[in-house]
């Protein structure tokens, strides 16, 4: 029997893998020490566990354990990377380049930088969600200190041309920071091969715990430094103070290890199901896949159903399928997704979109159920929709002048 609701919002957060929780439990119970306690075995056990997890995390992204700074999550990591570089490299310049489709954690931090007197260029994206590398090249100035571009987008799943961006950054002596929250653990990410200088990611998007994340800070070629944003006991080599969240770190480490070992299998599993879902939903008249389908995360699909009210769409099956129309961080608002608008979608299409995020736990039965439910809902809503009727009668909806209330 299918257990409801079906969870297909794994870009918002993933359920924790039971193997991860199992690894964490001893650190919730008998091994409760403070990792900074140096005088007794409770502290040593905690420190050892943190060191081991740091290796697991580093190995997933091809980094040295010394390059991993544990944070409370991706948002803190984004803040630390951008503000930390802005302060540390102030003598070199004050210009940052980012993209309009970044996560709020990056965009809001950049807005904050602008208030401090920094200059930020927001690149637009092409219709497929990817940046044009020529736009990036053109935006570079002598004062540019940082390029901040996400690895893969949280709403449409498109993967940016990371290696090209890195090469351009390196050529111009600019640091390259990537918010890789959605990519790490899902596709091969290697900071050396990719040429990334700083990178943030988090546990709860890869079957690990919430409240824990990491910032990768490159230690050679070049040696990157960030100004600490939280001062205190000097934990994490002075870059991030605060008692370490030992169980969280242990769980994060285990989640990274599992993702490293099972990535291929997970990607195959989710992409097969994702393709089945996408192909079936694209059978519905006037439905569109948003974003580049080739350069895309294997578990993500974003589909718009023309002439269907997004809110109605979600309400139609919300009780049985956990889905969202975009980022969780903005899902409470009724505004259409700024990411989809950046891809050039009009309010109507942006309003009628659904984001699907599959996981290693998603089953074919769940996908079949989802296809059925969504197809029925879309058809039912269109049956009731005067817009759909007009569209079917061949009226160009863009030509209508709506009365404003």
């Amino acid at each position: 029997m299918l257990k409801l609701p079906v969870y297909l919002d794994n870009n918002a957060t993933t359920p924790m893998d039971p193997r991860v929780l199992e690894t964490m439990i001893p650190y919730f119970t008998e091994n409760f020490g403070n990792a900074a306690s140096r005088n007794h075995p409770f502290g040593w056990a905690a420190e050892e566990a943190v060191d081991y997890a740091r290796e697991q995390v580093a190995q997933l992204i091809g980094a040295d354990p010394k390059e991993i700074i544990f944070t409370s999550g991706a948002t803190e990591g984004d803040n630390l990377a951008i503000k930390g570089v802005y302060e540390m490299y102030a003598s070199k310049g004050n210009h940052i380049i980012t993209v309009t489709t970044e996560h709020k954690a990056v965009l809001d931090t950049c807005k904050h930088i602008e208030k401090l007197g920094g200059e930020v260029t927001y690149l637009s994206v092409k219709e497929d969600g990817l940046i044009d590398i020529k736009d990036l090249e053109a935006a570079i100035k002598p004062t540019t200190i940082l390029i901040s571009i996400m690895y893969a987008n949280n709403e449409v799943g498109v993967i940016q041309p990371i290696k090209e961006i890195a090469a351009l950054a390196k050529k111009n002596g600019i640091l390259f920071f990537s918010d890789a929250t959605q990519a790490v653990g899902k596709i091969p990410v290697n900071v050396i091969a990719d040429g990334i200088d700083l990178m943030t990611f988090t546990g709860h998007k890869m079957y690990g715990p919430k409240g824990i994340g990491a910032l990768y800070v490159r230690r050679k070629n070049p040696r990157v430094k960030v100004t600490a944003q939280m001062d205190g006991g000097g934990h994490e080599r002075g870059m991030r103070s605060g008692t370490l969240n030992v169980p969280g770190i242990v769980g994060f480490g285990k989640a990274c290890e599992l993702c490293r070992l099972e990535m291929e299998q997970d990607a195959k599993h989710t992409s097969v199901l994702r393709d089945k879902l996408e192909n079936a939903l694209c059978q519905i008249e006037e439905s569109y896949v948003n974003g580049n389908k080739e350069h895309r995360l294997p578990h993500v699909a974003n589909i718009s159903f023309k002439h269907v009210e997004g809110e109605g769409l979600l309400m139609g099956f919300n009780k049985n399928i956990a889905l969202s129309s975009g980022s969780a961080c903005t899902s409470a608002s009724l505004e259409p997704s700024y990411v989809l608008k950046a891809l050039g979608l009009g309010d109507d299409l942006a309003h009628s979109s659904l984001r699907f995020g599959l996981s290693r736990f998603t089953t074919e039965e769940q996908i079949d159920y989802t296809i059925e439910q969504i197809t029925n809902t879309v058809l039912k809503l269109r049956d009731m929709s005067p817009l759909w009727e007009m569209y079917k009668e061949g009226i160009d909806l863009n030509s209508i002048e709506w009365a404003h209330h």
Binding site: S37, F42, S72, A74, G233, T330, S331
Partner: protein, 376 residues
């Protein structure tokens, strides 16, 4: 294996099994992102808001004044930075025996030229000199931030938060108190306490690590310290540490329900250890004001230095006794404790902090005192 005796509860405490039990549903089936609007998300949101209400009620604050953070360090950094950047404070008054989360933050702001910095005098018994505080406040021409810890993590000294708060009020200063050692150990009544910011960390009172609170009095408005999503009513971006928050509230509930019993039990252990050490160890002395206005969980002891006692912590560890030289955050450094250095100028002493919890017993004290007799 000989059972270990854990007398380092000011560094961190064991998670209460009941707290873990309360967290378990959120570690397993209720995993939704609290910002999501479907059932998984709503359940998570309800868990967080119920936790906030519970914490607010216990501290006698309004739920809108409670913000969840990643811990005490983040909370103190947020409050202190905001007082300078958003509330117009140009002069920081702190003390030399604060936790490093405060000291390093105020030094950072001072060095960046954002504010002047004064340290209030510390009396030989470890208490702050209130007359000196008043004199600094009254002589300051600029708006002040007073940041002083409610209970010292190394020597346990406490002050009356109302007395300090009223002094701040009199001079129109912003008052932040690092209450990491007292939230969960002291009955707060924030509605009737003149304080703008207090901080708490779950793992100091048998709750989880990686979660804390910042209380922001409703009369002050600050900007977020971490930018991004609209979590915590736009004050603290980032997906919430759901089970951490649920665990924090549960731990505080338990600490409050059993407060009196815990105080009596732990105070007895502390006083018993004080008496036993006095009786059995020659030349022992105590830092701070252990029998006066002092946190019942902390006992800071100085032993006469000898060839044997120099290896004291090492020898305690061999005997399965866990204690520390000072704050865990600095216990790796050879620099020694800035707190002890400030109040005790005797270089011929070795200082050990013993800190207790509800899980400790007088029998453990007997064992520790026996061992101390051997290794001093």
């Amino acid at each position: 294996m000989t059972p270990r005796i854990y007398f380092d509860n000011a560094a961190t405490t064991a998670l209460d099994p009941e707290v873990l039990e309360a967290m378990m549903p959120y570690l397993t089936s209720n995993f939704g992102n609290p910002s999501s609007i479907y059932s998984y998300g709503r359940e998570s949101r309800m868990g967080i808001e119920a936790a906030r209400k519970s914490v607010a009620k216990i501290l006698n604050a309004h739920p809108a004044e409670i913000f969840f953070t990643s811990g005490g360090t983040e909370s103190s950094n947020t409050a202190i930075t905001a007082a300078i950047k958003d509330l117009g404070c140009k002069h920081i008054i702190s003390s030399p025996i604060e936790h490093h989360a405060t000291l390093h933050t105020v030094e950072h702001l001072y060095q960046a030229g954002e504010a002047a910095l004064s340290y209030v005098k510390i009396l030989p018994n470890g208490h702050i000199d209130l007359a000196d505080l008043e004199s600094i406040l009254s002589n300051s021409k600029e708006k002040c931030l007073v940041t002083l810890m409610h209970a010292n993590n190394e020597i346990g000294n406490m002050f009356d938060i109302n007395v300090v708060g009223n002094l701040c009020k009199k001079y129109n200063a912003i008052f932040h108190s690092d209450t990491v050692q007292t939230v969960g150990h002291f009955p707060f009544d924030l509605r009737n306490t003149p304080v703008h910011f207090i901080t708490g960390a779950g793992h100091k009172f048998h709750g989880p690590k990686g979660v804390g609170i910042l209380y922001i009095n409703e009369n002050v408005r600050i900007k977020p310290f971490i930018n991004g999503g609209s979590q915590e009513r736009n004050m603290r971006a980032g997906t919430e540490n759901l089970y951490g928050i649920v665990g924090f509230a549960k731990a505080l509930e338990l600490a409050t329900t059993h407060h009196e019993a815990h105080v009596n039990h732990i105070k007895e252990i502390k006083h018993y250890m004080y008496d036993q050490l006095k009786k059995h160890i020659k030349g022992v002395s105590f830092n701070g004001d252990p029998l006066g206005n002092s946190l019942y969980t902390v006992l800071s002891v100085s032993f006469p230095k000898s060839e044997k006692s120099e290896m004291l912590l090492f020898n305690l560890d061999i005997n399965h006794i866990c204690a520390s030289g000072g704050s865990a955050c600095t216990s790796g450094a050879d620099a020694g404790s800035h707190v002890i250095r400030c109040i005790n100028h005797n270089p011929n002493q070795v200082t050990v902090r013993f800190s207790f919890s509800k899980n400790n017993t007088k029998d453990e004290v007997d064992i520790v005192v026996e061992k101390l007799k051997e290794v001093i």
